[in-house]
């Protein structure tokens, strides 16, 4: 078998091999990867069940892992796959923090999960959805829900010249106004948004000011507040979640007249909590924070 290639001379070149192991997730990371095509001529894709018929993860140069560890089969596949891979990249919020699956880790929901999901002859669910590095060592974290094709390429190609802004806010380009101070939060999604003006000035609960850049602000530019899917910026990533919360509150204090209590209450809502605590959850579990050098 030969990788797909444009030029005949490449056919004989030994290309680095990569594999994509999909644990419990939505396949959005895989779909994002398929939207990038630069890798097609530079890497040989040897395992990715979504697009390749292959049933065992072979030894590869780069192993991408998406999705969380939700079942005993996920755990088995994860441990088998990492045995002989040279570089392991955890991609997407689920693999890094559990992501949206954290909503199922709430105690009252977990009880329902365990009581309603008994099946004959199927993988058994673990008590909680867990991130990949709860079980194996990870060389690089690529957060995002999902990471953009550009981020995937930067990770695969180890591109030193890829040097994104520190925060989503810096990539967004909406103007912050000193004299437009809302008194209360606008509904999370309340229809039309003024163009070119900071979403916080318009009362939206946007956390782009502290969220890691690199996505090119693709939600905030068309008018949707950042939910923080890329996790905290380098400034906050090694600190606990309180530091992140306080940073967001300071931004709202400067740009709005919204009462602090209102901001706090909304930031702690389940939907934002998916992303807000993705790197800081370790403070509570006694695990060390992920070093910023390992996060793209």
């Amino acid at each position: 078998m030969q990788p797909l290639t444009d030029s005949p001379s490449l056919k004989t070149k030994q290309l680095p091999q990569f594999a994509v192991l999909q644990l419990s997730g939505c396949a959005g990371c895989e779909v994002s990867l398929l939207n990038a095509n630069e890798w097609v001529q530079e890497f040989e894709l040897v395992y990715m069940p979504l697009v390749v018929s292959a049933y065992e993860v072979p030894c590869v140069d780069v192993l991408l892992i998406s999705g969380g560890v939700r079942s005993d089969e996920d755990l088995y596949n994860l441990k088998r796959a990492v045995r002989c891979s040279k570089k392991i990249i955890a991609v997407g919020t689920c693999a890094i923090s559990g992501g949206v699956a954290n909503l199922g880790n709430r105690d009252e929901v977990r009880e329902l999960f365990m009581s309603q999901t008994e099946r004959r002859d199927l993988p058994r669910l673990l008590p909680k959805s867990q991130p990949v590095d709860a079980f194996v060592n990870v060389d690089l974290y690529l957060p995002g829900c999902p990471p953009t094709p550009e981020l995937f390429m930067a990770a695969l190609f180890e591109d030193d010249e890829f040097n994104p802004s520190k925060t989503v806010c810096q990539e967004c380009g909406r103007k912050k106004l000193k004299d437009m101070k809302p008194k209360h939060l606008t509904g999370f999604q309340s229809g039309e948004v003024l163009p070119d003006i900071c979403l916080i000035n318009q009362g939206y609960l946007c956390v782009g000011s502290s969220t890691r850049g690199g996505c090119r602000a693709l939600c905030t530019r068309p008018g949707h507040p950042c939910v923080g899917c890329r996790g905290p910026s380098d400034l906050l990533i090694e600190k606990d979640s309180i530091a992140w919360l306080e940073s967001i509150q300071r931004v709202f204090a400067a740009l709005t007249d919204i009462p602090l209590e209102e901001i706090r209450e909304s930031l702690l809502s389940p939907q934002l909590a998916l992303f807000l605590f993705q790197f800081s959850d370790y403070a509570a579990t006694g695990r060390p924070p992920r070093p910023k050098e390992k996060v793209l």
Binding site: L4, N35, L45, V100, F113, R119, R120, P123, H224, Q271
Partner: protein
């Protein structure tokens, strides 16, 4: 007694097929969804307004359909009607989803079965020399990309869109961007048409080789697109009998009165039936249940389908051909919609959130998708998701039985069975992440 197990690839999610045989007799065929996502449990207590951003994460392949269905369920609960421009932009979003999905299913999932390769991203030495497959792959990825870019244009984010909001959409589409994108689609249409032609031709060659278009019995069909022309931003569901008569039409809220839903003990996905009968959703259902596509190239292909196979048509490999028809339709329809200004009217209406119950319906690429929410104290107390793949579960298992009986005798199991299992399942293009939401 022997159990044959077939792991599956080139479908969305984790699934396998188990075939139980005894002395050459097929006892059972089971299609098993192997993972459990559990969104109906996870969304309990979530603020209702935030559902349109959470539920696309059910599935990265079908995220757009969930995004729009979620907004429609909330609008139903709040009693809001979005303005016409918002509906057009939502239709564009759903067309982007259709282009992306049908191109993926056609070229990434099922084309390798027709070419006898493991993946569209690999070629044999021989293929590399004559370049046929590479030529297909490069053009196929280009067409697929148009779907993703249309989702981005109309929906903001490219996998989990954000622009549909309760009351409408958060902004219009910039005229310059709309015009530029329209030109790209117009330029790509001949390529898409040629690809579908090629797909059709190599499908005929595959049929000649294996001797069948998929010889399962006729079935009932279910869709929520309209009878005159498909619109995926739909409002009611229809069921058609095997002879082509419409036997039921109902709204999303009447779902549980009309269809039977049941769980099984061998799969994390449930299944539905209509009065005990096997149904089929997805592309073949829509092609069988529409008078026309309403765009010229797609109608040409639909006529070809009907001339060759009659109507309603039942062989299961026709699902794949119908995806080709819909790929061309979605591109043509997008060109039509992008011709009018998409930023000259209000894109949303004001609303007041309140507790209540709402049902949201769209036609996803795989069939009718329903979201049902009960809102108490501003948060979700019940979130139900009725997934198109679930309508196809019984049909998949019945078609697998036909394939198994074809290739299993008292003396041997023909190794072609493994390929047949893959072809049957992929014809229905199931989505396991959605089905186990």
């Amino acid at each position: 007694m022997t159990m044959l197990t077939f792991p599956l690839s080139r479908i969305e999610g984790h699934a396998r097929v188990e075939i139980e045989i005894n002395k050459g007799k097929v006892l059972s065929t089971r299609f098993q969804a192997m993972e459990k996502r559990g969104f109906s449990l996870m969304v309990k207590g979530v603020p209702a307004e935030q559902m349109p951003v959470i539920v696309p994460r059910i599935c990265g392949v079908c995220s757009t359909a969930h995004h729009v269905a979620s907004v429609k369920a909330l609008e139903d609960a709040y009693g809001v009607t979005p303005p016409p421009l918002a509906c057009i932009i939502r239709e564009l979003l759903l067309l982007g989803q259709l282009i992306q999905n049908q191109a993926t299913s056609l070229f990434v999932f099922t084309m390798p079965d027709r070419l006898g390769v493991e993946s569209i991203f690999h070629v044999t030495e021989e293929e590399a020399d004559n370049g046929v497959q590479f030529n297909i792959a490069k053009r196929a990825l280009m067409v697929r990309q148009l779907g993703t870019d249309l989702i981005t244009l109309a929906g903001g984010q490219f996998i989990h869109p954000v622009k549909a909001v309760v009351g409408g959409v958060s902004s219009g589409v910039d005229p310059g961007k709309a015009a530029a994108f329209q030109q790209r689609v117009i330029a790509a249409l001949p390529t898409a048409r040629d690809l579908v032609d090629t797909y059709w031709d190599i499908s005929i060659r595959m049929k000649d080789r294996i001797g069948t278009w998929g010889d399962d019995q006729p079935a009932y069909y279910i869709t929520s697109t309209r009878p005159d022309q498909p619109n995926f931003d739909s409002s009611s569901i229809r069921v058609m009998d095997p002879l082509g008569n419409c036997c039921s039409e109902f709204t999303a809220s009447q779902f549980f009165d009309t269809l039977t839903f049941e769980e099984t003990d061998y799969s994390y996905a449930g299944r539905t039936s209509y009065k005990g009968e096997v149904m089929r959703a997805n592309s073949l259902a829509r092609a069988n249940m529409t008078r026309r596509m309403g765009t010229p190239l797609a109608d040409g292909f639909l006529t070809r389908l009907r001339d060759e196979f009659g109507t309603p048509a039942h062989p299961i490999l026709l699902f794949d051909l119908c995806r080709g028809i819909e790929l061309v339709y979605a591109l043509e329809r997008a060109v039509e919609l992008l011709s009018s200004p998409l930023d000259d009217q209000d894109t949303d209406v004001p609303y007041t959130p309140h507790d209540g119950e709402g049902w949201g319906l769209v036609e996803a690429p795989r069939g009718p998708l329903i979201h049902h929410y009960i809102i108490e104290n501003g948060t979700i107390s019940t979130g139900e998701f009725i997934i198109p793949t679930v309508h196809n579960m019984l049909a998949i298992e019945r078609a697998l039985r036909v394939a198994a009986e074809r290739y299993i005798t008292a003396d041997s199991v023909n190794l072609e069975l493994e390929h047949a299992v893959g072809r049957v399942v992929r014809a229905f293009d199931p989505c396991i992440a959605c089905a186990t939401h």
